[in-house]
């Protein structure tokens, strides 16, 4: 199921709505031994593939989740592949991930908590 980009629908870029004003950059509240399985589960639909690998930075420390593309094989000598970068955002209703390239929004399950990002 594809969700419409919040930016397009709600004018979030201007950030004038109450919902927008409630949005804040966030980091994932995971313990050092927690993995990203639940996040991978949510993102697998957005990315259209089951197996995901994450790139830097550490989303417990920075408000970003990076999904790496499939690794190019030795035959793919001219690969246009790019990582997908998602901003982690806390809202009144929980945590979301918003893909920078197209504002596509992934709602994280309630089991995944996030906390406001403090630079």
């Amino acid at each position: 199921m594809r969700m419409l980009g919040f930016g397009a629908v709600m004018g979030l870029a201007a950030c004038i709505s109450p919902a927008c004003q409630a949005e804040k950059p966030a980091v994932l509240a995971l313990g050092p031994n927690d993995d990203l399985s639940a996040v991978a589960y949510a993102l697998s639909r957005a990315e259209g593939r089951e197996s995901l690998a994450f790139g830097p930075p550490d989303p417990r420390l920075q408000p970003v989740v990076t999904v790496l593309p499939p690794r190019p094989t030795s035959y793919e000598t001219r690969s246009p592949a790019l990582p997908s970068t998602y901003d982690i955002v806390s809202t009144n209703n929980g945590c979301i991930l918003r893909r920078r390239s197209d504002d596509f929004v992934v709602t994280l399950p309630s089991s995944v908590q996030c906390t406001p990002y403090k630079p």
């Binding site: 690998a53 035959y75 000598t77 592949a81």
Partner: protein
């Protein structure tokens, strides 16, 4: 040698979610309803209507031998029961939708071929370049299981050496192209590296590499040159360059990943500092971090020229080629300009016909992208006005994109070495029914709209009548001298050209031409000029098997 980066490991959500099958445009158990212009014949097979192409989605995943379950990445196979004819119809329509030269492909009745690979082989242009080379040299396929194994392979057993296969049939000639730092191959014993660049391998575990011909002997050579597991011990007799006698080297394999940036060096000259970078692959995600680190070092050293050694770089990720080009040329040359546009077939318009997305240009990326460094950080820039690029016929694809991208913004490129491989093309590997197909789908063109270098970039003093003439000097890579050493023949030529503005007279006692490279890591046989079907043998050139 670094391990490939996979932050927090590679996770599969397959255990949590089993997605439904992809939209095949069909129905299970029966056959799809075809568009008006298609009709079904007996047995629910589609009927060929010359010049009329139904959407490939009508035929996808309807297989003669459908798979069941999930692949190694956890994706559910979308296959339904179908036939070879339907698979051929998919190939025909997919080719018509995505192949770069789709108007040069013969329209052949899919029902008359009972072998999908034989049919696929014909779905390409037969045009010939002025040089006499086939326009399409890159048309092949491989089993999807094999493709996925390669894509998901962990660091594999290796010594950290890249071989040059100069002669693959008796009398064979295998030599050391380079070694990666910090590996068994480069480790020193008694003050001498185990494998020295240019050394000829005479025997492997006592088997004569030059002349052996029995199957058992060839198996033994393969086993020693390309260890399957870490911890294997093998013994080599090698003849170092200039040595009168051979020596014996014993190596123990380790699980290693390829090292993108092999060497970074600052060369002090009377005309200022020169940076040297040996960059061997754009493929691993770690190449982003390694090339940025290298450029930061050279920026800090205030280099006023750069020698970029791409002689063994067969390409990889275009985005990292774009980042590198930005770090070389800087904002004054690249601001508002395009690194590369992907040119698809004429029917595609502004859409990428493979992804269905808008076909956006690849910019000169100014920031990190998240491959191995957090995205969004400004890249370093060298304050230079030209770049010397060292090249051979192994300089290919994304490496050539660097040359073309820089020339597209009028940044001076001086080519030292040999004619590059000539691959301005790319593809998206695509699975259908267990076979992954590679067909040329786009041509990379620079900011000026140029991408016609299928005969390679040619140093300006080279007599070749074909290829794109580029300022520079033809110098044969003789496999001697440490890469990065100022006396190594290609680097020496670049430094000489920098001082005099002309090509040096270069002699070589052991010219090396038409090398095939064989990286001794896992199943990697690189033949970057052409990837023929025989290259499916991933371990050794045919002549050595």
């Amino acid at each position: 040698m670094r391990q490939s980066r996979c932050f927090w490991g590679c996770l599969s959500s397959a255990a949590f979610l089993a997605l439904g099958a992809c939209d095949t445009g069909g129905s299970s158990g029966g056959f799809v309803s075809f568009p008006n212009n298609g009709s079904t014949g007996s047995g629910n097979e589609p009927v060929w209507n010359p010049g009329v192409y139904e959407p490939a989605s009508e035929f996808i995943a309807q297989c003669e031998n459908p798979r069941s379950g999930t692949d190694i990445e956890g994706n559910t196979f979308p296959d339904q029961s179908g036939s070879t004819t339907i698979e051929n119809f998919w190939l025909r329509s997919w080719t018509n939708e995505t192949y770069l030269w789709n108007d040069e492909v013969p329209d052949l009745d899919p029902a008359t071929f009972n072998d999908r690979l034989a049919y696929f082989d014909l779905l390409k242009t037969s045009a010939v370049e002025p040089s006499g080379e086939d326009r399409d040299d890159f048309h092949f396929s491989q089993p999807t299981e094999e493709f996925l194994e390669q894509r998901n392979s962990a660091p594999s057993a290796s010594y950290g050496v890249s071989y040059a296969a100069i002669a693959t049939t008796p009398p064979r000639n295998f030599r050391v192209r380079y070694t990666d730092p910090g590996t068994p191959a480069s480790a020193e014993v008694g003050g001498l590296a185990n494998f020295v660049r240019g050394a000829q391998i005479l025997t492997v575990d006592g088997v004569d590499l030059i002349n052996a011909s029995s199957d058992a002997a060839v198996d033994a050579l393969n086993a020693g040159l390309f260890p399957e597991t870490a911890g294997e011990t093998h013994t080599f007799e090698v003849l170092d360059p200039g040595a009168a006698s051979s020596r014996t080297v014993t190596l123990v394999s380790e699980n290693l990943s390829s090292d993108p940036v092999n060497t970074v060096k600052v060369i002090n000259t009377g005309l200022g500092n020169v940076g040297y970078v040996l960059f061997n692959t754009f493929s691993p995600f770690s190449s982003e971090e390694e090339i940025v680190d290298a450029m930061e070092q050279l920026q800090a050293a205030n280099v006023n020229d750069l020698v970029l050694d791409l002689r063994y770089n067969g390409g990889g990720l275009l985005a990292i080629a774009a980042q590198l080009s930005y770090m070389i040329a800087g904002p004054s040359f690249t601001s508002g300009r395009t690194f590369e546009n992907l040119r698809f077939n004429d029917d595609a318009g502004d859409v990428n016909p493979v992804t269905g997305e808008t076909n956006n240009a690849i910019p000169f990326y100014r920031t990190t992208l998240g491959f191995s460094l957090p995205s969004g950080n400004a890249l370093p820039v060298l304050n230079i006005n030209r770049v010397f690029i060292l090249s051979t016929e192994s300089t290919c694809s994304a490496s050539e994109a660097v040359i073309n991208g820089l020339q597209g913004v009028d940044f001076e490129v001086i080519l030292i070495g040999d004619v590059t491989c000539g691959k301005p093309y790319g593809f998206y590997p695509t699975d259908n029914c267990g076979e992954t197909y590679y067909t040329i789908q786009f041509q990379g063109v620079n900011d000026k709209g140029f991408g016609g270098y299928s005969d390679g970039f040619v140093p300006s003093d080279n007599p070749s009548p074909f290829g794109v003439i580029t300022d520079g000097c033809t110098v044969v890579d003789d496999l001697e001298g440490t890469l990065g050493d100022e006396s190594e023949v290609l680097l020496a030529a670049a430094l000489s050209y920098r001082e005099t503005g002309s090509c040096p007279l270069v002699t070589t006692t052991s010219p090396v031409t038409s090398q095939a490279s064989v990286d001794a890591k896992g199943p990697a046989l690189e033949l970057p000029v052409n990837i023929p079907a025989s290259n499916r043998d991933m371990r050794m050139p045919e002549g050595l098997r």
